[in-house]
Symmetry: C2
Subunit: 464 residues, 2 copies
C-alpha cells in the first residue's frame, strides 16, 4: 500500500495512449520507445542470433559493395534496344509481380496509356480490352535492371536513361520524368499525356542523348551528395538534383543540338519539372543496390517496391524471391478537392531510394517534406535517426548537414526491422485510386510489416 | 561561513573564463548569457527608452518598406552609362569612404587592376603611381546605389547588373562575379585577372544582357527564398542561387545568342562558379534596404560595409552619415599554405546581405559554413537565433527550414545592438592582406562594436 502514498514516477512501455491516462491524472511518466517485434516467431530471433557473426560478415560484404558503387549516367537508349529481356508485347511495371486482375487503377491507367502510346490500341476502351486479353505480358521493372516511379510503366518504344555502376560494371535503366499532374506514371491516359510522351521520345530524348554522349558520363553519386546539402532527399524533393543535372547538361545541349529552338524547349522542359532528377536518383540507387545482391547469408534489403496493391521486398541473401504484403495508403497533403478516400495505396519503385539510404531515410536533409503532413523540422531529424536503428551502416558520401554531416542510414537489415518493430520510413507521391486521374497529393508512410516478417522468417528458417 | 559548508551552485554572469575556475574546482555552475552594453552612456539608453514608441513606429515603417521590396533583375549596362554619378576618373569601392593612403592591400590591388583594365596604366607600377596621384577619385559603391563584394571595385567600363525594386522603383547595381582564387575583388591584378575581366566585358556581358532583356525580368526575391530552402544563405554559399539563376537564364541564352560556342562558354563560366549569384543577392539586398532609408527617428541599420580598413554602418534615421571603426580579422578556414597572419581585416559590401536578414543572419539555413571554422549544425542555429535579439522583425519570404520555416531575423536595431552587446554575425571570404595575392580563406566574425556604439550615441543624442 505504501506505493500509493509516495509520488508515482511511471515508465510506460508500449501503447502511448496508456500514458495519456496518467498524464490526465497528473501522474509523472515517461514513454519508453519500445515496439514489440514484428515477428511472433521468437525462436527465429534466437536462431539468427546464433548465426550473428556469419550474418554480420555477409551484410558487411553486401553493404561494402553498395557503398563502393559508382553510378554514372552514361547514355540513353530505347527500352527495346537496351533493357535486357525487353519485348514488344511486354510491359514493365513498378513493384513485385502482379496480374492484370489484381492491378490498381493507376497501374491499369498507365498500362492503357502505354498501349495507346505504342499504337497497339486506338482508345482507352480498346486498350483496356487488350491489356486484359492475355496478349500483353507484365513483369516487374526490377527483374530487368530497371526502376520506374509510381506505376513504373516502361513499354518497348520508351527512351530510357542508362546508368552504369562504374565500380561493378552493372547497368540500370529508368525513363525520363514527365513532370507532375496528369501523367502516365500517375495513371492518366488522356491525349495530352500521350502527346507529351511522344514529344519526349521524338525531341527531348535525341537532344539529351546527344548531350550525354558528348559529355561521356555524368557523375550521379557526387550530384546526389551535393543535392543532400541543398535540401533534397532525392525522392520527394529533387529541385537541387534537377538544378545540378541541368547545369551539367545545358552547355552540352547547346553544343550538340543543331536547332536552338529545340535546345531551348528541352531545357525549359527540365526547368519546368523539379522532379526530373527523380528517375535518375532511382536508377542510381538501383545500380548501387544491385551490386549488393546475392551475398549468401546477408539479411540486407536490396529492394523495396510497390505495385499499388502489394508492397514487395527482396533480400541480398534470398536471390530473386519477393516477400509481399498489402500496400498501405500514405499520410499526405492532398491537392484541393481530394482526400485520403481518393488515394491509391502506396505505389512505385521509388522506395529504392530509401533502400539506398536516401528519400525518407535522408528526410532530415529535407524538412520541407514533413511539413506537408504537419510535421516539424525536429520530426524530420527523428525519422532519419530512427532509421539508424534498422540499418547496418552509414553512407560514406551521402551526408546530412543538420546531423553534422553524418552519413545517411544505409543497408536495411531485415532482422533489425523484424526485431525492433521499426518499419522503414518512406516519402512518396500519391496517385488517385482510379485509372485516368493522376496525382492527388504527396506524403509519407512507414512500410507495412508483413513483407518484412515474411522475409525475416524465410531467411531465418533457412540459416544453417 | 555557513555558505562554504553547503554545496555551491554558482551563476556566472559576464566573462565565461571565470566559470572555468569553478569548473576546475568541481563546483557546479551555469553561465548566464549576459553581455554588457556596448555603449557606456547609460543616460542615452534611458533617453531612447523615453522615445520608444516613436522609434518603434519609425522602425516599423522602415522595416515594412524593406520587407515589401520586390527586387528583380531587369537588365545590364556599362557602369559609366547606368550608375548615377559614375565618371571615367572615378573608382567605386566597398565600405565607407577611404583615401588611398589608408587603403588595405587587396583594395589597392583591386584598384591597380581596374586601372590596367581601363587602359589607364600599362603595368602595376604605373597603376600604383596613378592610383596615388590624386587624379583618380574614390567613392563608396553604396553612395552610388551600388554594392561590390570584397574590394568592391567598379570602374567606368565594367558591365553591371541592374536590379529594380519594383515596389518602390529604386535601382541597384553590381558587377558580374569573377569566380574564386586570383580575382580582382580579392586584390589580384595579374594578366590572367585582366584577361578574364575583358572576356566578361566582351563576351559574357552581351550574352547575359540579351538573355535578360528577352526575359524582361527575373524575380530575385523568390529565387533567394528558394535558395534558403536549398542550403544557401546567399553570402558564403550561393550554389543554389547560382543554379536557379542558371536554370532561368539558359534557355534565354540559347534563344538570343547567335553563336552556340559563345552561349555554351557563357553558361560554362556560370556553371564553374558557384558564387556567381552572390553579386545579385547583394544587389537584391541593396535595392531592398535603400527603400528603408531616411525614415525620421528610425534606428534601423540600412548599411553594414567594410573597406578592409574600417567597418561602416548607416542608419535609416541618420541619412548618409557613416559610423565607422576598425575592421577585424575573421575566424576562417584558410587555404593550404595560409594562416590568420596572412589575412586582411574584413572587407566588402557583402555584409549588405546580413543587413537584409541573409548571410550570417540566415546561417541556420547553411550549416556547412560553420563547419569551415569547426562549428556544428547546432552552432549555426544558435547564431541565427541570437540575431532575433537585435532585429525588429522577421522576413515574410526568406525562411529557414531548420527553424520550421521561421522568417529570417531582419531589421537590425542599433539600440538593441548597443544595449544587448550582441553584435551582428557575418560570414565572409578572406583576402590576403597584400595587394596582388587573392583569396586565402573563408570564415565568420561578429561585427566590431565601435561603429554601432557611435551610431547609437549619435542617434540617441539627437532624439527630441
Amino acid at each position: 500500500m505504501k506505493l500509493f502514498e509516495t509520488e508515482l514516477k511511471v515508465v510506460n512501455i508500449g501503447l502511448e495512449s496508456f500514458r495519456q491516462g496518467l498524464s490526465d491524472s497528473g501522474v509523472k511518466s515517461v514513454q519508453a520507445q519500445f515496439k514489440p517485434p514484428l515477428s511472433q516467431e521468437a525462436g527465429l530471433f534466437s536462431k539468427a542470433a546464433g548465426h550473428a557473426a556469419k550474418i554480420a560478415k555477409a551484410n558487411k560484404k553486401a553493404l561494402d559493395r553498395i557503398l563502393a558503387a559508382k553510378p554514372a549516367l552514361v547514355g540513353m537508349g530505347v527500352a527495346l534496344d537496351v533493357i535486357p529481356g525487353m519485348r514488344k508485347d511486354l510491359i514493365l511495371h513498378a513493384g513485385p509481380p502482379i496480374t492484370w486482375d489484381r492491378m490498381c487503377g493507376p497501374m491499369r491507367g498507365g498500362i492503357m496509356c502505354a498501349l495507346m502510346y505504342e499504337g497497339l490500341a486506338k482508345d482507352a476502351k480498346e486498350a483496356e480490352k487488350l491489356a486484359a486479353s492475355g496478349k500483353i505480358k507484365y513483369e516487374p521493372c526490377h527483374e530487368h535492371n530497371a526502376v520506374g516511379p509510381m506505376a513504373g510503366i516502361i513499354s518497348a518504344s520508351m527512351p530510357v536513361f542508362v546508368v552504369k555502376n562504374e565500380e561493378h560494371g552493372n547497368l540500370s535503366y529508368a525513363t525520363q520524368n514527365e513532370g507532375l499532374g496528369k501523367v502516365l506514371r500517375y495513371g492518366a491516359f488522356g491525349p495530352e499525356v500521350i502527346e507529351r510522351l511522344k514529344w519526349m521520345e521524338k525531341t527531348l530524348y535525341p537532344t539529351l542523348k546527344a548531350a550525354i554522349e558528348s559529355l561521356g558520363r555524368i557523375d550521379l553519386k557526387t550530384m546526389v551528395a551535393q543535392a543532400l546539402h541543398m535540401g533534397d532527399e532525392v525522392h520527394n524533393r529533387n529541385r537541387a538534383g534537377t538544378s545540378l543535372l541541368y547545369r551539367a547538361l545545358a552547355p552540352a545541349v547547346i553544343k550538340t543540338c543543331k536547332d536552338p529552338e529545340t535546345a531551348a524547349k528541352s531545357l525549359e522542359f527540365i526547368n519546368g519539372n523539379d522532379h526530373f532528377f527523380l528517375n535518375l536518383s532511382m536508377a542510381l540507387s538501383k545500380a548501387s543496390l544491385d551490386a549488393g545482391r546475392d551475398v549468401k547469408d546477408s539479411s540486407l534489403v536490396v529492394v523495396m517496391a510497390r505495385n499499388g496493391t502489394d508492397f514487395g521486398v527482396q533480400l541480398s541473401g534470398t536471390g530473386g524471391r519477393w516477400f509481399t504484403g498489402p500496400a498501405e495508403v500514405p499520410d499526405a497533403l492532398y491537392f484541393p478537392g481530394y482526400t485520403k478516400a481518393d488515394a491509391n495505396p502506396d505505389i512505385g519503385d521509388s522506395a529504392i531510394t530509401e533502400t539506398n539510404g536516401l528519400g525518407g531515410f535522408a528526410i532530415a536533409a529535407a524538412p520541407a517534406i514533413v511539413q506537408f503532413v504537419g510535421g516539424k523540422a525536429a520530426d524530420a531529424l527523428s525519422y532519419t535517426l530512427a532509421m539508424y536503428e534498422i540499418t547496418v551502416g552509414e553512407s560514406n558520401i551521402y551526408k546530412i548537414p543538420a546531423l553534422d554531416f553524418r552519413g545517411t542510414p544505409t543497408g536495411i537489415d531485415v532482422i533489425k526491422v523484424a526485431k525492433s518493430g521499426i518499419r522503414p520510413f518512406i516519402d512518396t507521391g500519391v496517385a488517385h485510386k482510379n485509372a485516368g486521374v493522376g496525382q492527388v497529393g504527396a506524403g509519407v508512410l512507414s512500410a507495412p510489416a508483413e513483407p518484412f516478417v515474411k522475409a525475416f522468417e524465410y531467411f531465418a528458417k533457412r540459416l544453417k
